[in-house]
């Protein structure tokens, strides 16, 4: 009697999980299916085609935007990792009061609404006399990426013992050598997940890019936005599928690779 009641509850729970999963993935699955549909209609299956993919790869606009997106994501993640890791080491060795202040500032770009961050950066770039373009998008992305790096590196840094670092110094290693030989291997997982997090965040951003990009340059997000307002072309579905697959692979790597290592 109790067992059947428990089973019933389990069935309801599975049912609920499936419903939410359908809600989350059905729209994405629809786009993936439509990207292979040779008919331009959204309701008729005209046969399998890769035409939209070839069209997408042949499009100068899309390829330029893709290149910008990847370049900005890579550079912003890299620079954010350097600045953020250095900052984490410094913050970790600070007294409580300055540490709290700096961590508070770190939280601003994360908690602030994207539209406000975007507008404020745009106003600043114009006030500083930096013309809007690739460089301003890059600076903006570094700005919102640094906090993610700090939040990934800080927990790892707290776990490391400061004595091993000091021991290395006592044994005659230079501070830089001691850092790279002793501290860095310990915080490397945090640095890597910070990099991937920053890379994904940059890939995903639309709103802040929208305000800081100026007229000449597009990332995939801003390109999709302007294309979609003119009417959806099937090559957009092909692009969506490619982006979805990329993000999926990146996330699987970043989520499951470090865990596996830790388990071994």
């Amino acid at each position: 009697m109790k067992n059947s009641k428990w089973n019933l509850r389990r069935i309801w729970q599975d049912f609920y999980l499936v419903i939410i999963m359908i809600f989350l993935y059905a729209p994405i699955a629809t786009m993936v299916v439509l990207s292979f549909n040779s008919s331009k209609s959204r309701t008729q299956w005209g046969g399998f085609t890769l035409r939209w993919y070839t069209e997408m790869f042949a499009s100068r606009n899309i390829m330029d935007a893709l290149q910008n997106t990847l370049l900005i994501a890579f550079l912003s993640a890299l620079i954010a990792v350097i600045i953020g890791t250095a900052a984490s080491i410094a913050i970790n060795s600070m007294k409580p009061v300055p540490r709290t202040i700096l961590m508070g500032i770190t939280n601003i770009p994360m908690l602030n609404a994207d539209i406000v961050t975007g507008i404020s950066l745009m106003l600043a770039f114009i006030a500083f006399g930096i013309s809007l373009g690739f460089q301003t998008v890059l600076i903006a992305h570094i700005t919102f990426n640094i906090p993610y790096v700090i939040l990934s590196v800080m927990p790892k840094l707290k776990q490391t013992s400061r004595f091993t670092y000091e021991a290395a110094l006592d044994l005659g290693a230079s501070p830089l050598r001691a850092f790279f030989k002793v501290v860095f291997p310990d915080i490397l997982p945090g640095v890597l997940s910070g990099f991937l997090l920053a890379f994904t965040m940059s890939l995903d951003d639309f709103i802040i890019t929208h305000f800081t990009r100026g007229a000449g340059i597009n990332t995939l997000s801003t390109l999709i936005y302007s294309e979609v307002r003119r009417g959806i072309k099937p090559s957009m579905y092909a692009l969506s599928t490619v982006i979805f697959a990329t993000v999926l692979i990146l996330l699987i790597i970043s989520n499951f690779a470090p865990h596996k290592k830790a388990e071994q």
Binding site: F23, M31, S93, A113, L251
Partner: protein, 270 residues
């Protein structure tokens, strides 16, 4: 200690690209085009079209937040109870859409909801009348719930995972039924996650202009659309900044809520 010098680039960067930019919004918001102090930009929120956009934004984001909470809490509870052993991949599946390109997610719903879209196509095949789905407030709420649901699931799930099974079992042993346990044990212990989730959904929903633009058409203006247009089309930066200041009041309220109820950052996603 020269270690502290390492924070130099970071501090300079944050001053240059976070503090000064925010100060500029305050400056633009409180001055007119000639640079003289004025409250007119901030007070322009009370003009009929702006106040209408603000109320609509508040209303739609409130409804979306409630729906997200109602959908996410049971989901987080189920996921937490399953976590023993095989769990983490299931959890990953429900968090994954959070990292998907925001525009693509909205584009997907546009495809489904359009007049010649997938849902109307299916209705047509079943010989049912076509529905006017897109360009309605309902479509915007749907877009918000879809986009921001994982932001509600993640913090609640994180907090629920920290609840000790023994606490739940103790309540049951002492004779509490399911709803009593829910009300007196689960809810109070998950307040930090709930508050965190509410702000993580409410703030982006309140300030969005993309969802309303793609799913609401040009007729439904949210406060985000008004601000975006002041900057991209109207070029009235002072007005746009003034309205942003009004928005920042709501953001500050939610930051204060988080600081009060989630002191240890338990509910944060990272």
């Amino acid at each position: 200690m020269n270690k502290k010098l390492l924070s130099g680039p970071y501090i300079l960067w944050m001053i240059g690209f976070t503090i000064i930019p925010l100060a500029l919004i305050v400056f633009y918001g409180l001055t007119d085009k000639s640079g003289a102090f004025t409250l007119a930009n901030v007070l322009s929120i009370s003009t009929p079209e702006h106040i209408k956009a603000l109320w609509l934004s508040l209303g739609l984001s409130f409804v979306s937040t409630i729906i997200c909470l109602v959908l996410a809490y049971p989901l987080a509870m189920i996921l937490r109870n399953r976590n023993v052993g095989s769990g983490s991949f299931i959890v990953f599946i429900f968090i994954l859409p959070m990292w998907m390109n925001f525009l693509l997610r909205t584009l997907a719903w546009q495809t489904l909801l359009e007049k010649a879209g997938v849902i109307n196509g299916i209705l047509g095949m079943l010989h049912l009348p076509k529905q006017n789905l897109i360009n309605t407030p309902g479509a915007i709420v749907l877009g918000m719930v879809y986009n921001f649901l994982p932001f509600m699931v993640l913090p609640i799930y994180n907090v629920l995972c920290k609840i000790d099974d023994n606490t739940i079992n103790a309540a049951r042993d002492l004779g509490a039924n399911f709803f009593q346990t829910l009300l007196w044990v689960w809810f109070p212990l998950s307040v930090p996650g709930i508050i965190s989730g509410i702000t993580m959904v409410f703030v982006p929903a309140l300030t969005t202009f993309v969802i309303s633009n793609l799913l609401g058409g040009s007729k439904i203006l949210l406060i985000g659309n008004v601000i975006e247009q002041e900057f991209t089309k109207g070029s009235n930066w002072n007005m746009g900044s003034g309205l942003s200041l009004v928005l920042m009041i709501f953001i500050l309220i939610s930051m204060a809520l988080i600081a009060k109820y989630d002191k240890n950052g338990e509910g944060s996603g990272f």
